[in-house]
Point group: C2
Amino acid sequence: MGRRADVAVITGGLGPTPDDRTAEAAARAAGVELEVNPQALASIQAFFDQRQRLFSESNRKQALLPRGAVCIPNPVGTAPGFILAIGRCKCFFLPGVPREMRHLLSEAVMPLLYRLAPNGKGAPQHLLITTFGLPEAAVGEELSDFTAAFPRITWGLRAVFPEIHIRLRLPADVPGQGAPAAADAVAWIRRRLGARLLSPAGKSMSEVVGDLLRQRGATVAVAESCTGGLVAHLLTDVPGSSDYFLFSGVTYANSAKIQVLGVSSQTIARYGAVHEDTARQMAEGARRVAGADFGLSTTGIAGPDGGTPGKPVGTVCIGIADGSVSEGRRLQFTFGDRRLNKKIFAVTALDLLRRKLLDTDDG
Amino acid sequence: MGRRADVAVITGGLGPTPDDRTAEAAARAAGVELEVNPQALASIQAFFDQRQRLFSESNRKQALLPRGAVCIPNPVGTAPGFILAIGRCKCFFLPGVPREMRHLLSEAVMPLLYRLAPNGKGAPQHLLITTFGLPEAAVGEELSDFTAAFPRITWGLRAVFPEIHIRLRLPADVPGQGAPAAADAVAWIRRRLGARLLSPAGKSMSEVVGDLLRQRGATVAVAESCTGGLVAHLLTDVPGSSDYFLFSGVTYANSAKIQVLGVSSQTIARYGAVHEDTARQMAEGARRVAGADFGLSTTGIAGPDGGTPGKPVGTVCIGIADGSVSEGRRLQFTFGDRRLNKKIFAVTALDLLRRKLLDTDDG
């Protein structure tokens, strides 16, 4: 390694347990001993002190770094990273826990790498644009002539089910030209995707819906059958969501749909739990019970069992109510997997609320 | 690559969009042309036919493979993998979508690699043991003399927050000796961890709780404040959970706690929403509303805001009711992150139900 590369980034194996041997291996590769690194010890102790957690003896092992290593303090976990030269290669050792690794990579490693880069142009600007409603291939087709319009901007797609994320990379080498080009590129993409563009600031569906509710001073209540609490979970993952999220009734049992939400037992007896009218009444019930401005509901068949020829796995009815009008829609998805179905059902319900808040059905 | 390794596994870049260039790069490295691979085309068409989805022109691109490549059909996605010799290296190209990659890796690639291995001993046996209730470092300390007891079994730990997973790898080279050694090793670990061992079959907390409820023919209803639907979401991720999960009232607003669950407004006025007695009444209310055998509840402060000196972020009260007795407990966690707090609160609530179902409080 020390001969083939100038820089290496290594993750994992910095934990407190005996099977974590990265520091040991790095020391051996560099031909040095392990020793207690004072800065690493201080970083670990600060992490524990701040959380009033007991410092375990095995956590002390995480301060044993190869002699000559420079500690990268870790404010979000117990394992500090470190930088060590092995041969002519500058090696960055990071923890393997994804959120700790990401934090140290973006806060400590990437800024240093951009400074070390021979052309010294500084960091390029990255833009994350979230979209919902088209499969990855179709987004790619919509963007097929983007490069002709913006030759200096490179782009890529990533499926973060069920959203499709567009990443733009704007070069940093022309001072002052980054910002307008970014705005133009976003406007170009918005013209192509319409309301399927969620956020040019990388926000998720539930963040976008939360922003719209807060802007309008409106509240929402939810009634969930097939999504089993996921709509509420997505909404409440956003800090401050108690400003607009009041209630979700996760009514798996029909008796709960009838008793908690006031759905008509005749409707369920005649049409079944998975029906546009059941969904509509669930949305009305959630709104009424919680005294919310909007009611949103899901009832469907996530699978793997429960499908019928008329209502196969992947069928979902979504209800939405705002006090003056309520409606139920039926949609059919074909992912055939329980977890994927729960996700696409939940995000599609949030999308219908988003479009209602935007007052748009285009795209 | 073709000179340094016998086998390479490459993931990603097999999608339908223009930025997916792996097949093109592989063809160039092997010095061959791209051509429509009939088996790949059939795999893609089968995927679309089965789901009654429209075959997009850009999906046809995914059937363009380097000449001489052997297709690995992909039953769970649109991108088939392929095997191509580059120099003396056998290269496995897999899609980058994690669930598709994992499927093809375990179903197609690993069995082939074990057959190709020079010693030809066949696949080792892997065991995944899930645990909850001890941090990774403490599990490591409990297992520090495992290797002395079972020298032929290698082990490792992985934090899948908030569970800690123990992976055992038993060699395959002594016929008939794998199974008894695995049972002995699990028994040894169970003696060390007690009820903190969740499942020797790799099951998650919600799967274990679901199994226990089904074995006892019992049902559960949930009332959630701070977990925001996550307890219900975890329970309903398990296929067949409608057998035992009836209802969750996600009552973010105090008015919903009072109206839907019948929590006493005096209790909330006197002690606040985050209190043992509020939690106890929420669990009773959920149980009563849904007619369930067990009621389970959470109310706490997930953060980032809402903490007070007496009830800092990370405080959670969990209620549990079974018709003859109900109780509320207060716990304090120190992760300091909203999503982590929601997770640890939800899984801890499920753990209290699991221990009630097991009638154990040890470990």
